[in-house]
């Protein structure tokens, strides 16, 4: 035990020193992350960024996204001492009471209005305390009613009836009814980013025959619409508060929902506090008296804050932090919530006029040139698993062999580049964008070395501050761009990232960052959206995976591992602690968003 403590102290110091050295080097609050974790200062709409240079972007639906190291690959084999550990003592009867402070990776939203939130992982984690979603995914990975009492489509999935749960009131006393649902969804429809996600919705109105029901009509059959109600679009805010905050900006940061906790106070980059909602509709939740979320951008500092008692709970993707928690599993109550999580990769702008990346040979040459296992060992201490496509192993569409090169083949890469150069004489140059984070810069330097060895004449690395990073992506101002994204439970939650309908011109804010315009991909996405057949959907998702491998639209890195770790007396982190109201069993772990949990289920075992 003494040895363990000594080791932890030594690591803590090393971690601290490294963290602060990076702060000093970067001399900016935006540059605090050290080893490939993400966090940061909030940026623009649709995104938040990481202090560490890894970036987290907002996802308007259930998925959350994060720009991050392009590589950060992972070993396909896991060393014996780094076996994932879920260390939660057996959970007895929940105890009511107590408070908890959680260190989160970023202050990720502003304002706290569902249609405008900049929602990455931390944002979802925080706002779930105040807002409930209309639906929640179950362990069966299908959406089930939660705040709504029923969500029913018509036969061809073009009309969805969403019925509000009886007797529920918002924290300000406003009734939750069909009009509240209509107000919230209508705001999404006209919002900058979430509007893109539900572009196909043609009308949202209260059922004249039933004031508790909202009727949503969509342009084309949309069998997977329910998934959108499990995420950002499903968060229900008080219409009274929304109307008041339309004219008073300061109210936008004081959310009013129906959730298990009532908003108390928020200071950007400082804290978000909420207290127990004693009238919560879904009793016996919540168990805690209060929760507080404190953004600590640097993962090593976050872990240190946990070890020194500043916070009681953290989440992290950092390889060093995860390794330390695994090595000292007995000291923490921890759980790796990684299922359906995101992939770290490099986005390519594939339709920019005059860019060599419009040629599939150049894109695939870059893919062949990458040595992700080496990078993963260097950056993530081998914690992550090497990615071969957009879908992580738990997601529908994952393939053991997608056709994407898993190992470096520099000869093949050089051959493809030579072929391209023979047809396109002149210097071949590429710009690679990364954040100001030191770890991401290391990744970028690996990439530069690989690409130049493959035959690219010059790769310039552009370090962009976090605040500007997401805007560059939205504007489409890049060639190669480090990123992290594509978690989620259904292929449809990726629709707006890849469909040509959200691929706008460079200079317009668009969620299809790489401006992919591929009729085959569009067809597959549309087909999936209309289908409720699991077998067919699986086939479609796998075809999408293979298409990405064939076209090399993105350069895959690793599947991100998330750990949630806290004091040994914390219970209720697992998604299985939340029973769905429709009796379908427990809710899905993290609601399809890796690294998150349901705050209402947490309790403290002080016995």
């Amino acid at each position: 035990m003494a040895t363990t403590k000594h080791r932890r102290r030594s690591r803590a110091f090393g971690a601290t020193l490294l963290g602060f050295a990076l702060v000093a080097a970067a001399c900016s609050s935006d540059d605090k992350e050290s080893v490939s974790d993400d966090t940061a200062a909030p940026t623009s709409a649709a995104s938040e960024t990481t202090a560490a240079g890894t970036d987290t972007t907002a996802a308007p639906d259930t998925a959350e996204t994060t720009a991050t190291t392009a590589g950060g690959g992972g070993d396909t084999t896991v060393a014996p001492d780094t076996v994932p550990v879920d260390s939660v003592a057996s959970e007895g009867d929940p105890v009511v009471g107590g408070s908890l402070i959680m260190g989160i990776e970023a202050d990720t939203s502003s304002p706290w209005r569902p249609a405008e939130m900049v929602c990455a992982i931390s944002c979802h984690q925080v706002i779930r305390s105040v807002f409930d979603t209309l639906m929640l995914p179950g362990a069966d990975k299908l959406p089930h009613p939660y705040l709504a009492s029923a969500v029913e489509p018509n036969e061809d999935f073009t009309v969805w009836r969403i019925t509000a749960r009886e007797g529920v009131k918002f924290h300000d006393g406003t009734d939750f009814d069909g009009a509240a649902i209509v107000d919230n969804l209508t705001r999404h429809k006209t919002a900058l980013l979430t509007g893109t996600a539900i572009k196909s919705v043609t009308s949202i109105e209260v059922d004249p025959a039933d004031p508790m029901t909202a009727v949503v009509t969509v342009e084309k059959p949309w069998a997977t619409f329910g998934f959108y109600l499990t995420g950002q679009i499903g968060y229900m805010a008080s219409p009274t508060w929304l109307a008041a905050s339309d004219t008073d900006d300061t109210l936008k940061s004081k959310p009013v929902g129906t959730g298990p906790f009532v908003f108390e106070d928020y200071k950007p980059n400082e804290y978000f506090k909420a207290t127990k909602n004693p009238d919560y509709w879904n009793q016996p939740y919540p168990y805690l008296d209060s929760v507080e979320f404190v953004p600590i951008n640097d993962a090593l500092q976050r872990k240190q804050a946990l070890d020194t008692g500043s916070v009681n709970l953290i989440h992290a993707t950092n390889g060093q932090v995860i390794t330390e928690i695994r090595d000292n599993a007995g000291d923490y109550s921890s759980r790796e919530i990684t299922a359906d999580g995101e992939t770290a990769y490099s986005m390519l702008h594939v339709t920019q006029e005059g860019s060599p990346l419009t040629d599939v040979r150049v894109r695939c040459a870059l893919a062949y040139s990458q040595d992700i296992p080496t990078l993963n060992d260097a950056i993530n201490l081998g914690v992550n698993k090497i990615a071969n496509g957009p879908f992580s192993p738990d997601q529908v569409g994952y393939l053991e062999d997608s056709g994407y090169p898993m190992t470096q083949d520099m000869a093949k890469a050089q051959e493809l580049i030579a072929e391209y150069k023979a047809e396109n004489p002149g210097p071949l140059k590429l710009a690679l964008a990364t954040t100001t984070d030191e770890t991401n810069l290391v990744t970028a330097n690996f990439q530069k070395q690989w690409y130049e060895e493959a035959g690219i004449d010059e790769v310039t690395i552009d370090q962009i501050d976090q605040g500007n990073y997401i805007v560059q992506a939205l504007l489409g101002n890049f060639q190669v761009f480090q990123w992290r994204n594509h978690g989620g439970l259904d292929l449809d939650t990726q629709y707006f990232w890849w469909h040509s309908s959200s691929s706008l011109d460079v200079g317009a804010l668009a969620l299809n960052f790489g401006r992919i315009k591929d009729p085959d991909l569009d067809a597959l996405l549309d087909q999936n959206r209309a289908s409720a057949d699991p077998a067919e959907k699986k086939q479609i998702a796998e075809d999408v995976n293979r298409l990405f491998a064939k076209q090399c639209y993105n350069l895959w890195g690793t599947y991100t591992v998330w750990v949630v770790a806290g004091n040994p007396n914390i219970r209720g982190i697992a998604g299985t602690n939340l029973e769905l109201p429709d009796g379908a069993g427990p809710a899905n772990e993290g609601s399809g968003i890796a690294g998150t949990f349901y705050p209402q289920t947490l309790w403290l075992d002080n016995g």
Binding site: S29, Q304, T308, V471, G507
Partner: protein, 321 residues
Amino acid sequence: MRYIGQKFIQLLIVLFAVTFTVSLALSALPNSKERILAAKSVNPANVEAANAVLDSLHLRDSQIKQYGYFMKDLVTGDWGVTFQGNQSIKTSIWDGLQISLRLMVYAQVIALLLAIPIAIISAYRNGGFFDRTATTTSFGMLSLPSYILAPLFILLFSVRWGWFTSRSENTSLFDDPWQHFKDYFMPTLVLALPLAATYMRLLRADLIATLQGDFITTARAKGLSTSRILLGHALRPSTFSLVTAAALNTGTLVGGSLVVETAFGLNGLGFKTVVGIFGNEFRLVQITVLVLAMIYVFVNFFVDIAYGWIDPRIRAARALT
């Protein structure tokens, strides 16, 4: 009176130069308008909506006009809210200023309390064991930047001994004095130690020079005690450099304690300024810089006054001009 009038005019010139330069610099940030539009949920491609938002913020006007609107808003107190977080800018700056002022005051007080006695003893025992030890220690303190001291303190006080948490919660002194002490102990010490070393070096050097003056020899010949000579005669004329350095550091500490604020999770003015720059919070940054510039100018104004107290010859010279 005339002197104060001159200083006031200087103050206005400095404030204008600083705020106008900052305004120009902020407008030169890449994608500044796009970032604001994104924060306001408006797509730049929607020209009509984009222009409406930019017009409401006067961002399509000339720089001169924009500066005019800034001054108008400043005077009328209509400072607006931040784009990120929708916080009242007044509240945000006030919150940050309180933290930074506390850090500055605590650090200055501790630095001076450490530096002055050590410098006096060192100067009096110039070349002795105490002086050599103090000099070596001060060089050590000067060589340790805050990004080394901060983790070192966290290691010792938080990780090893568990006396303090690694993050400060900014508890009010009046709500919980003990917690307030625990919140500010480490950050204050990290700031104060290098300052104390600087002050000690400056004061020691000036004292050594002063102690060689004729009036000190006279005082000794008159049989005055050592403490009376040191404290009553030598100290005051030796504090020019110390007062100047302390004044300059006052402004630096209020706006430039970014590393310490970041290390201990204190959302001070330095931290807010940097986050504001990256978040394109132009109004927050403009006003913060104005506040910092005012602190610099006022502190230096009072230091100028203090020079007259330290050395009556300066007061006499001013009276002649």
